[in-house]
């Protein structure tokens, strides 16, 4: 069961933490996901690649239960998320992190309060000192400890992205979803964020699904890439495998 597979130059285990079977979702007459299958293995960084509007964000929102699919089955950490009661789903969600494209920081709270909020609301058995230590730890990891008392509106785009990443990490999730983590950032900051994603995986042994168009970010972060085309998994493989494919639908992303 713990067989090792080699993707690129990084090791991942074969145990799936997320399994998707025959996922189908349409909005009106527009079919977004059609018979979509996917497996995310433990400690794997999986990049979902696809054109704008191809349903990548819908896919991750289905996985965390924000959007209900029309058909199909999604298992996250062994649980069928659409069979869970609300309380059970919320408990499962504490093991998931989500980095939104828009960062989605609570703009009425300081950075400290943004990070404290999920820890307090879940009533984890943590003392005030432990909560503060956890906040400092994640902020130090993203290199922004000095912003602790600032408001989200005072941060630059790159800083806000790092804080959003720190917030996604504060509950120590087992799986994290990155929705366009480098969109709207300059190439240098994008590379820093991509490196940070990789560090998160290596330090905390997190599995991740990364939605991205940014091929520089994809190259740094991806253990495996899934190409989403017309609602289906069109191709999958490592960065190098897909880059050297002869299929124009695949190579158009790499040129």
């Amino acid at each position: 069961m713990e067989a090792q597979k080699q993707f690129g130059n990084r090791k991942v285990t074969a145990d799936p933490v997320i399994q998707i079977h025959h996922l189908f979702k349409k909005f009106g007459d527009h079919i977004v996901l059609s018979d979509f299958d996917l497996k995310l293995k433990k400690e794997e960084n999986l990049v979902v690649l696809g054109k704008s509007g191809s349903g990548k964000s819908v896919l991750v929102k289905c996985i965390v239960g924000l959007i209900k699919p029309d058909r199909g089955k999604i298992q996250v950490l062994g649980e069928d998320i659409f069979r869970l009661e609300e309380d059970e789903l919320n408990k499962l969600r504490t093991k998931l992190g989500f980095l939104f494209q828009s960062n989605a920081l609570y703009d009425s709270m300081t950075i400290r309060e943004n990070l404290r909020f999920p820890l307090l609301k879940h009533r984890f058995p943590m003392s005030e000192a432990e909560i503060e230590a956890r906040i400092i730890e994640v902020l130090e990891h993203v290199g922004l400890k000095h912003t602790i008392d600032m408001m989200p509106a005072e941060l630059s785009g790159g800083m806000a992205k790092r804080i959003a990443l720190a917030r996604a990490m504060v509950l120590r999730p087992e799986v994290i979803f990155y929705d366009e983590p480098t969109s709207g950032l300059d190439p240098v900051t994008s590379r820093e964020i991509a490196t940070l994603i990789l560090e998160m995986k290596e330090k905390y042994h997190i599995s991740a699904i990364i939605i991205s168009h940014d091929m520089a970010c994809v190259k740094i972060t991806a253990d495996r890439i899934v190409l989403l085309l017309e609602g289906r998994c069109y191709a999958q493989g490592t960065y190098e495998e897909l880059k050297h494919s002869k299929d124009r639908n695949i190579t158009q992303f790499f040129n």
Partner: protein
């Protein structure tokens, strides 16, 4: 005809959706785990911060009402009944309705805009994916705070309004504060006060419910936020009058009028 049908369908759909939203509020009321700190914060934000506006409008309303009523009462030679008339009008009807309308303008719009903005910037989704129930944390507490705060504001608004009326009475004649209030309270019965107070709970609930519903269900980006704030005020103001009409009918049926 097609337009009428489509509007009717839209109306029924919206009514059903608001009813489900209200149902969710009541089902959460039965579950433990109320965040008292957040409730106090919302009561402060919703109630205390609305007091200056409610006080100012109540004062002007009492003063103007007295000045407008005086000529008519003079005509019939019952000017001495001015405090009684103003008192009954303010406590039974004008105080609760005007306070609720001011409250709707301030609170329903701010709830619609705040929650709408949180919705379009994915802050509500962020809360949900971190395992926090946004309905419990954002909606339930706001509706509860609005329901609890409007009756308090109405009592304070009524008192300030009667002080405005006292000044209005004293513009043309001299009446002591003691005599003014004695005259009012002697002519007010529990049948005037209790139904008026009960309906303010319903006004507060309707304002909180509509403000939160519109904000929580807003879409279409920044335009949606503006539209949520606007429609929250319009719909909650209409609902205030509908509830008021029903309240009058019920108090009539119960023989309290």
């Amino acid at each position: 005809m097609r337009l009428f049908n489509s509007n009717r369908q839209q109306f029924l759909k919206e009514t059903g959706s608001i009813s489900r939203f209200a149902g969710k509020f009541f089902s959460l009321s039965l579950k433990p785990g109320l965040d008292f700190n957040e409730l106090l914060l919302q009561c402060y934000t919703i109630g205390y911060k609305s007091l200056p506006l409610v006080g100012l409008t109540g004062f002007i309303m009492g003063l103007v009402l007295t000045m407008q009523l005086r000529p008519s009462l003079l005509l019939y030679g019952v000017e001495s009944q001015l405090p009684v008339m103003v008192g009954v009008a303010v406590v039974r009807e004008i105080g609760p309705v005007i306070t609720a309308l001011i409250f709707a303008g301030k609170i329903a719009s701010s709830m619609g805009a705040e929650l709408g903005s949180m919705k379009v910037t994915e802050q509500i989704d962020a809360m949900e994916v971190s395992g926090i129930n946004p309905f419990r944390y954002l909606i339930y507490i706001r509706i509860l705070a609005a329901t609890l705060m409007l009756p308090v504001l109405t009592i304070l608004g009524d008192v300030i309004s009667l002080l405005g009326a006292y000044i209005g009475v004293n513009i043309n004649s001299v009446t002591s504060l003691n005599l003014f209030f004695t005259q009012i309270f002697r002519n007010l019965s529990m049948g005037d006060v209790i139904p008026a107070m009960i309906k303010t709970f319903f006004f507060g609930f309707a304002i909180g419910l509509i403000g939160c519903y519109k904000g929580f269900n807003s879409n279409k980006g920044t335009q949606g936020v503006g539209s949520a704030a606007n429609s929250a005020v319009v719909l909650s103001s209409v609902l205030i009058f509908v509830i008021d009409l029903l309240a009058v009918q019920i108090t009539d049926l119960l023989g309290l009028n």
